[in-house]
């Protein structure tokens, strides 16, 4: 690098050529806009909401924020509704990410071989994850509808009067089903890239050594996919903890509190009713800390896999 720049700079300026811009200037010009935008839209808000989380403030009122120390956090952490929202979110994350990991990995094992139209079929299976979550939530609402939806008919309940009413009796499970439908392909995609990186000769060697299929799976397939599967699970866990679009489209948090996730609670706190902006900022921070904590556990695990 250094050499070429030196050479470039020792070139005599060509006659009629424009003024040369130095490398240092280019670096600054190229990078600064990005960094400034990110600072203004991410770093500043982050500090501002940290400040707000220690104040009593409502953006719909006229009063400026009043410093109240950790009172917001105390109130939130002693509020059973908040705990219930975290419990619902946790349950949802566990079920949907678990489902996605199993189905996604299974699909990857199915599609790893090269057969006729395997590329086309892989692409078709990937379509759900590119769709808009809120729109997906809406049309699944139609599909789950006990009278006019097809879901019950497809799974074998032909009589609407005895069939389950998904969005009423099993609302959380319904959200999980849709999330699994939408995001298993993502896990599959990552696992596939791991599987395709395993050279054939390793399996051949194992075959020669008469390793059983199960042993090949456990000793060759699983270890090579594990880092990517963990990564996929990490991404999906973060997303599941943030879940908002899909839930709003499908159930809006109801019925009752059955699908009231943390982000839905947060949304209601700020934009509906009393606009408790300060308290919502505190809840947002609690959520952020939980997400950072969980990510670190995964990253620690990922590093451990890589080392072994």
């Amino acid at each position: 690098m250094g050499n070429t720049t030196a050479i470039a700079q020792t070139q005599p300026p060509r006659t009629g050529s424009r003024r040369q811009v130095s490398d240092g200037t280019i670096q600054k010009l190229f990078i600064m806009p990005t960094l400034i935008l990110l600072m203004l839209w991410n770093v500043f808000p982050l500090f501002y909401s940290l400040f707000l989380s220690f104040t009593q403030y409502s953006h719909s009122g006229k009063l400026p924020p009043i410093w109240i120390g950790t009172a917001n956090y105390d109130m939130l952490l002693s509020d059973p509704k908040v705990w219930s929202a975290f419990a619902v979110t946790g349950k949802y994350a566990l079920l949907s990410v678990g489902g996605q990991a199993l189905i996604g990995f299974g699909l990857a094992l199915l599609l790893r071989a090269k057969f006729k139209a395997s590329g086309l079929l892989t692409t078709l299976i990937l379509i759900p994850m590119m769709l808009s979550p809120v729109v997906v939530g809406l049309f699944w609402k139609l599909i789950f509808n006990p009278l006019t939806g097809i879901f019950n008919y497809l799974i074998g309940f032909w009589n609407p009067s005895t069939a389950p009413i998904w969005l009423k009796d099993h609302a959380l499970i319904s959200v999980v089903i849709v999330d699994v439908w939408m995001w298993s392909p993502f896990v599959m995609l990552l696992c596939l890239s791991g599987l395709k990186a395993i050279p054939d000769y390793i399996y051949e060697a194992a075959e020669v050594d008469r390793a059983s299929a199960w042993r090949q799976f456990r000793k060759i397939t699983l270890p090579s996919v594990a880092p990517l599967l963990t990564l996929a699970v990490l991404f999906r866990t973060i997303e599941a903890l943030k879940a908002f679009d899909l839930v709003m489209g499908l159930t809006g948090g109801g019925p009752g509190n059955s699908t009231e996730m943390v982000s839905v609670t947060l949304y209601r706190m700020v934009f509906q009713g009393q606009a408790r902006t300060g308290m919502a900022s505190a809840l947002a921070y609690i959520m952020l800390i939980v997400i950072i904590g969980i990510s670190n556990v995964y990253i620690w695990y990922l590093n451990r896999i890589k080392e072994s």
């Binding site: 395997s118 299976i125 590119m130 769709l131 809120v134 809406l138 139609l142």
Partner: protein, 340 residues
């Protein structure tokens, strides 16, 4: 990934000719009837999976072209007569006509196709619905923000790829980490900031927000593409007397056109699908389509046909694009960190 040579030849055999390399060993056990049967079973199972995965999408697309009674029929109808009811409901405001007005309307001969369709349901079209404007907003905001995100991202990606910037790794990690923030955490301060600056419910506010939202992604993905362009090309150009900027424009840009296109389309899809920010930071003027499809209400009950029409209209471009992008999907969804 297997080299392209092997995909053209049957599994286990490289293409004929002494010059072609043997990229896969020929395993007898993989051309036996049993192995072939295994592949057929995989094919059949994959087809079943793909069909099951796409039933919801198919159902929504067909509901979009069902008449109102068909869309809400119980049991649901698989076979039906196509109708424009859903789309008319989506794009227009209508009014139910009284018997006398209906007769007068039926006598008119200057009705357009759409007006006739509405008349068949006893309605008169008053004008375009709010959805038309919101779809336009979606287009303006997502296209402009995509352009900005890709342009700024390209410059930063180039600088990060080609220069030894102090603390490069840390900066790149910082850029990545902004994407991991839950949007809802930054929404409250951004909402307050926008309200103070007059950017609430304004195009420019949403455009800048989506630009920033996509910027981290665009930097990472494009850096991956630029890293793959051999640096020797530029070095040769520099030796030949090109300036840095000229080398960037004439060597790097043409080389990473596909990368730019793929990045642009991913950014476009993100901005196109975004819901939370639009719901919280806009109200009427700059509201995009996703929060509004949810609130389509008809006269007397939910207009499933219109909701389905809106959803289909909204999703079909994404489905087509997914197809076009299939080569880059893995990079796109993993920030370019993993290559296929």
């Amino acid at each position: 990934m297997a080299a392209p040579v092997s995909s053209a030849a049957p599994r286990g055999f490289a293409a004929t000719g002494p010059s072609s390399p043997v990229v896969e060993s020929a395993r007898v056990d993989q051309v036996t009837p049993a192995a072939r049967r295994g592949l057929t079973i995989r094919l059949i199972m994959s087809i079943i999976v793909a069909v099951v995965m796409l039933i919801p999408v198919y159902w929504m697309a067909t509901t979009a072209i069902k008449s109102r009674p068909d869309a809400t029929a119980s049991p649901p109808k698989v076979f039906f007569k196509p109708s424009w009811d859903g789309f008319i409901g989506l794009f227009t405001n209508r009014t139910q006509l009284s018997t006398s007005a209906l007769a007068a309307q039926q006598k008119r001969t200057d009705l357009s196709f759409w007006e006739k369709q509405a008349l068949a349901r006893g309605m008169r079209i008053l004008g375009p619905s709010k959805f038309v404007g919101q779809l336009k907003n979606s287009l303006i905001i997502s296209l402009t923000s995509t352009f900005l995100a890709v342009a700024l991202g390209l410059l930063s990606a180039y600088a990060f790829s080609r220069y030894d910037i102090p603390g490069k790794g840390d900066w790149l990690f910082f850029i990545l980490s902004t994407r991991m923030l839950p949007p809802i955490v930054v929404t409250i301060p951004i909402f307050l900031m926008y309200r103070a600056l007059g950017l609430y419910d304004a195009y420019i506010g949403m455009i800048l927000l989506y630009t920033v939202f996509n910027l981290s992604f665009s930097v990472w993905l494009l850096k991956g593409f630029i890293d793959e362009i051999p640096i020797e090309y530029e070095e040769a150009a520099l030796v030949d007397g090109y300036s840095r900027l000229q080398a960037f424009r004439k060597i790097v840009l043409p080389q990473c056109v596909t990368g730019i296109a793929a990045t642009a389309v991913f950014c476009l899809i993100f901005a196109w699908n975004e819901f939370a920010f639009s719901l919280m930071l806009t109200s009427s003027k700059a509201r995009t389509a996703p929060p509004s499809i949810a609130t389509i209400q008809g006269v007397g009950g939910i207009e499933w046909g219109s909701i389905a029409a809106g959803s289909a209209l909204f999703l079909i471009p994404v489905v087509i694009v997914t197809f076009a992008l299939r080569k880059y999907l893995l990079r796109g969804v993993t920030f370019g960190a993993i290559r296929q």
